[in-house]
């Protein structure tokens, strides 16, 4: 079954992430794919994440297919204009890539080519409309395509954005623009996430809650202070502190597993997206502890 079919079947889905490396040595990346294969329902392939130049997400998405994984091709609007985006979408389509995640993309000032000209010719809402158009046989200018795409398109949302209202307005615009599923920014407060879900459930879209494993209390504080839309509650920071240095990572994995289990048991959302960020080998263990394997 494809990611779309699994998601629509009502099964609680799990997606993970594969970060393309900087350079042509893909041994470690292939190892990560091997670990995730058969365990997760799909893998997101990031698109020059944090505006750091790496292998393109299309090539790695194709590699994932070849290795027996289903990719979610992440596409940002930072590096390509509307011609480039549409052309790459058609290219991805003929390579067998079925899922696309439409995002705005981190600004070039966050990355390793700070002098680059950021593009943003279109943005995430408009990119979703573009995908919808290509799926219906038309390019953005209304020209007829010789063969249309068949993408299952998704988007991202930050349930703990502050202020939340403008974020929710954009969420609705993304739904109207054709987003079928959403993967969220990392969440750490299930009660707050439930509030977001109460709103999100008004719309016919699937929601996958995002997870980033906490490795230490220091990391939690760093996320709180530096990463937009992430809020680790003090009670979790205390839990990590109490665990001590040796056990902090294990405790962080337990927290993630516990949260995932709660989301699944209470049927709060449709699945989870685990962003391991270099700890892909830990994903199966987290899934096991969450009762998903």
């Amino acid at each position: 079954m494809s990611f779309k079919e699994i998601l629509n079947s009502g099964k609680f889905v799990v997606t993970a992430e594969v970060g393309p490396p900087k350079g042509t040595d893909i041994k470690e990346m292939l190892h990560h794919m091997e670990i995730l294969k058969g365990k997760v329902d799909a893998v997101n392939v990031t698109d020059n994440q944090s505006a750091v130049m790496r292998i393109c997400s299309m090539a790695v998405s194709k590699t994932a297919i070849d290795k027996g994984l289903e990719p979610i091709f992440q596409m940002t609007c930072r590096d390509r204009n509307r011609i480039g985006l549409q052309s790459d979408l058609l290219g991805a389509s003929i390579l067998g890539i079925k899922n696309v995640l439409c995002m705005t993309g981190d600004h070039v000032s966050a990355g390793d080519h700070k002098g680059a000209k950021p593009v943003y010719d279109v943005e995430s809402v408009q990119l979703l409309k573009i995908v919808d158009g290509l799926n219906n046989g038309k390019d953005m200018s209304g020209n007829e395509l010789k063969g249309s795409t068949g993408f299952f398109q998704g988007a991202v949302v930050t349930p703990e954005a502050n202020p939340i209202e403008p974020q929710l307005i954009k969420f609705e615009k993304k739904v109207r623009a054709g987003a079928k599923f959403f993967q969220t920014q990392a969440i750490y407060d299930i009660e707050k996430f439930k509030e977001f879900m109460k709103h999100a459930r008004k719309f016919p879209v699937k929601i996958l809650a995002g997870f980033v494993v906490l490795k230490s209390a220091g990391m939690a504080n760093f996320l709180n202070n530096n990463v937009p839309g992430i809020r680790v509650p003090q009670v979790l920071i205390d839990e990590l502190k109490a665990a001590g240095k040796e056990k902090a990572l294990d405790t962080g994995m337990n927290i993630t597993a516990r949260h995932i289990k709660q989301l699944k048991d209470e049927k709060i959302c449709d699945g989870v997206h685990i962003m391991a960020i270099g700890m892909e080998d830990k994903v199966p263990l987290i899934m096991e502890r969450a009762g998903l394997l």
């Binding site: 609007c77 995002m103 000032s109 950021p118 995430s124 502050n162 307005i169 954009k170 615009k173 920014q185």
Partner: protein, 221 residues
């Protein structure tokens, strides 16, 4: 106004090292307000050039340096000083510099300033970029705040995931343009409009360079 910033003097001297006699042109409009091309700055430049052993044959602050014909007329009385110069330094914006390029085909022309943006002066010599001159205004859809300019990504349909506590991901000094738009639309009781309208991708052909405009109606013969 066009916001300008003085270029490094050493860099300018390197550019003009082969010239001896200079004429300085400032501008009474934006460059004067920016403190880059008014009377005091021309005087300081004259002294700095002379300290480098150069000669300054004349200085003049144009009324509106980007107005080619007007500046041409204004410069007529300076013919003698201009004849004696081999290099003109324009102390206004890139447009003012190119007025001199138009008027003096056989003379070297250098800019003493970098032209930065179209901005508003919010306090004395504090400047903010407000308009990108995109060619097709969308202010009527965004509560009068331009996201093409105020948002580093120029987003048209709401904030990105980089908005942190109402501030921009690229700097905590920048307030998120879309939070500003949201707050203003709320005050104007127009939130429903903000929710309902998805702005289409912008037609950038309106900013296709180089742009020209003939605003006057030609007299019918």
């Amino acid at each position: 106004m066009i916001i300008t910033k003085k270029r490094d003097f050493k860099e300018l001297m390197e550019n003009v090292k082969n010239y001896r006699n200079f004429f300085l042109i400032g501008c009474s409009e934006c460059a004067t307000l920016c403190g880059t091309g008014g009377e005091p700055e021309l005087k300081a430049m004259k002294e700095a050039l002379e300290a480098e052993g150069k000669s300054v044959t004349g200085t003049f602050v144009a009324k509106t340096g980007c107005q080619v014909l007007g500046t041409k007329v204004e410069l007529k009385p300076f013919k003698e000083a201009l004849d004696k110069t081999d290099c003109i330094i324009v102390m206004s914006c890139g447009a003012g510099t190119q007025t001199a390029v138009d008027l003096y085909e056989d003379k070297a022309v250098f800019a003493s300033n970098d032209s930065l943006f179209l901005g508003n002066m919010t306090r004395l010599q504090f400047f903010d970029e407000r308009c990108s001159l995109c060619g097709k205004c969308i202010l009527d859809k965004t509560g009068g705040i331009c996201p093409i300019t105020a948002c580093p990504k120029g987003l048209l349909n709401g904030p990105c995931g980089g908005c942190k506590d109402g501030h921009c991901e690229i700097s905590p000094d920048i307030k998120c343009a879309w939070v500003r738009i949201y707050e203003r639309m709320k005050k104007l009781d127009k939130l429903q409009e903000l929710c309902e309208v998805t702005l289409e991708a912008k037609d950038w052909s309106a900013s296709q360079k180089p742009r020209t405009l003939v605003a006057r109606e030609e007299k019918k013969k």
